[in-house]
Subunit: 269 residues, 4 copies
């Protein structure tokens, strides 16, 4: 009977398993609580709201940490039903060290740390940012992420190369710009790391307008960089487009393939 | 004979039906009137024009509301020719409650409401914005929308996921930025909701330049966010590209498929 | 013998015809002269250069107009070799009225008009802008334009629909923004046409920073608009990507198709 | 025995050859040294760091130039193992004149030039920028660049045409804008070359906000240009997307093609 309860708790908590009424209720409740927590942290920073509803925010914080703590302990208790974490001791340790569990732990630990009484309140609020890691727990509940993550995995090398090209471009552009504009605007282009702020806001076409070149050479370099920035947009877009095409074709093919010759079947709808 | 008139009115008003001279004339007239209405609302806000031609604008408003009202009533009268709304009473009620009819109604109702005499004129002009819903009526007259809406439908889940990733990124970036820049620029990064203004203008690479970080950590975060912003552009572009490829191939395939083996035929043009 | 000379002149001037030494020389000379003309107009506006080399600019102008005039007359003389313009009188009139010839004419006519003596010099320089139409003559000499123009032609309807959606979005966003921000910033959002300046610079993510909302509602609307702006980029990118894929596959298919079954052949390189 | 040593040195230095422990060690060491050199040049420009660790930077400079010089000489010595550069004299000269070797040489030469004693120190630091060319040496060590460079090669003509269209647009837009805004803002739109700064920052949607039109006509032109700028993003994205699709399909096809009929095989994973 003990084992049946454990099994039921496992099924209740596992988002991909079970279709019953209680199963869906538990899932919906936890997702809602995560979203409300994110909202609470955001709204707490609005001074007028914090002054008016400070105790309410505190009460909600205690309630949600209680729920997440219970959930965390139940997950560790029932994790032995997963093949990877079968062993009652080493399996549980392995489960605790898995990325998902670490995020779960970080979402509740800041509350229990006695730091809030010792250190300045403001300082603690920075730690509370970790609570935002809870948002990643939503990843568990969403299914459509698989296609996008597959595309990123299959095109990982090309996308990393794009990033490397971007970094190289930022370094080269910043160095040239530093030597061109440093003498004219020594406060804005004071060093190469400082100049990188300009090159990134230009290459990504954000263009705040707080730093921009005034010399002819600097403007010429900016023109080249910003046109290359267009290519910087086009490259990953092109890579991802081909990745998505391949991924969707794969899904489609696995559905309608002639069982005899392995040839793709044409849908006439 | 009554029935023939009703049928003719139905065919005249239905944009997808009938090819006669009067049919095209009615369609062209209504589309033109909708476009002129949009133009009138835009030009009315220019003070110099409103002072000079105020009575003309009023006359045009009365004329177009009269036309749209007549059109609305005729549509309700003749809607029983559509299979879905066959029943003279319940069919008509169903038709009135359809999205297209509600938009039609909202386009004329503000004029008839006696609010303009009670409330401040300015307030009423806000309600007149609803007239812009008339622009969506153009959707009825355009055929090419089908491909684009099909692509959006088939890739809905991936696009929604893109939006969710964007929202998550905005929340995480705003929270971090708030804790980084709040002490240095308390007026610009006064709360997390306020900081979201910065994160959205940066992530979408708009970069007005009214809010930007000044600390080293803030600039580093901005760099990461703006480079991720490039990915934010690339992701939907890639998804839509694969969607359009699939959609156009589907159209092409349905045209030239070998009737015996279901194999795609090659066009030699 | 007269006819032979005419034929040779026709071949010399026709960029797609003939491969001889003189043929290439004439083509290169005309392209170079067009490019130098564009450069001259650009550099003339730099005051220091115009003062120093004014007479040189004038001489170069006379020389190039002489060359382009001769070229224009020779083209009209020899156009009867093209099947479409065979007839010595009506054929030549048809040729003069073709788009290419009109551009050629507009490139030389401003020089002959006596306006420069009557009107202010500045005014005439505005007409000289027409000389920039010469740049389109380069279109004759480039072959690779065909693929890009084919893609644009095949996806014309979808791209036009993108533009229409953009216009609708600009109108709706401007109207809402006008009612939201007009009272707070009456100088920047003075009318809906004026507010369109904001909506266009935001939707295209240019974001100069001269006009931006300050109210909460205005910022929320801007956030929606700028995120939709990302979609505005993704949509044509996706459409063009599918267009280019289809175009390049068509070219490839027309090259390697099995002559018996019309099936695509696989290249093993 | 001499020849064996030469062969071993060649294999050690050639990044694509050999899998032994020493082979990987040498490769890793050189890549790390290149990256550290780039970091050193960047950090040297930060005044506080240069004052504190100036001698350390100098020592690291001497060390790395010594290593790169040795590497350069060893590469010339052993290049005869490559088929293209077999001949001991002419082969080596050909190798020295290859792009890779010229970059290698430029990375070390500035150090040996006695200019630093003659000219101002600042001037020499500009020459030290050439050291950044070392970053391109990393290209040798990366394999994934092949796909991206293949796509760029196969779509070179279309991408160049995109650039040409961009240049034409910049010239035309700048000329029109000059005539429109020159009288109102003579300091910002002083000449067509000066106006190009505006057209480039607008067309690439950077939008610093230092130069923007104030007249109605100027704003209309900016609107057209910035919407065309969106197309400027979409065009290369579309071209590259089709290029990547073709490239990845080629790779996939060369892997699984039926050896009998040359038909593509469907993978059922």
């Amino acid at each position: 009977m003990y084992s049946t309860l454990k099994r039921q708790v496992f099924i209740l908590l596992d988002p991909s398993d079970g279709d019953g009424f209680w199963d869906k209720l538990v899932d919906t409740f936890i997702i809602s609580l995560i979203l409300l927590n994110i909202l609470a942290v955001i709204l707490e920073t609005v001074d007028s709201l914090f002054i008016a509803y400070g105790s309410l925010f505190r009460a909600f914080e205690i309630f949600s940490v209680a729920v997440f703590s219970t959930e965390y302990l139940l997950r560790i208790w029932t994790c032995t039903y997963i093949d990877n974490f079968k062993h009652p001791v080493t399996g549980r340790i392995k489960y605790i060290c898995s990325l998902g569990s670490i995020i779960d732990l970080f979402a509740i630990v800041p509350f229990y740390l006695p730091l809030s009484t010792i250190y300045d309140l403001r300082f603690v609020r920075i730690f509370r940012l970790i609570r935002f890691l809870r948002v990643f727990k939503l990843g568990r509940y969403l299914n459509a992420t698989r296609i996008i993550s597959n595309v990123f995995k299959s095109k990982k090398e090309e996308l990393v190369l794009c990033l490397l090209i971007t970094f190289a471009l930022i370094i080269v552009a910043s160095s040239f710009m530093y030597f061109i504009e440093h003498d004219i605007q020594p406060d804005k282009f004071s060093s190469i790391p400082e100049t990188m702020w300009w090159s990134i806001t230009t290459l990504t076409t954000v263009g705040y307008g707080d730093v921009f070149p005034v010399t002819e050479a600097g403007r010429l370099l900016t023109s080249c960089i910003s046109i290359l920035g267009v290519g910087l947009f086009a490259l990953p877009a092109g890579i991802l487009a081909s990745g998505f095409s391949a991924e969707f074709q794969k899904i489609k093919k696995s559905k309608n393939v002639c069982p005899y010759c392995g040839e793709e079947l044409t849908d006439n709808n």
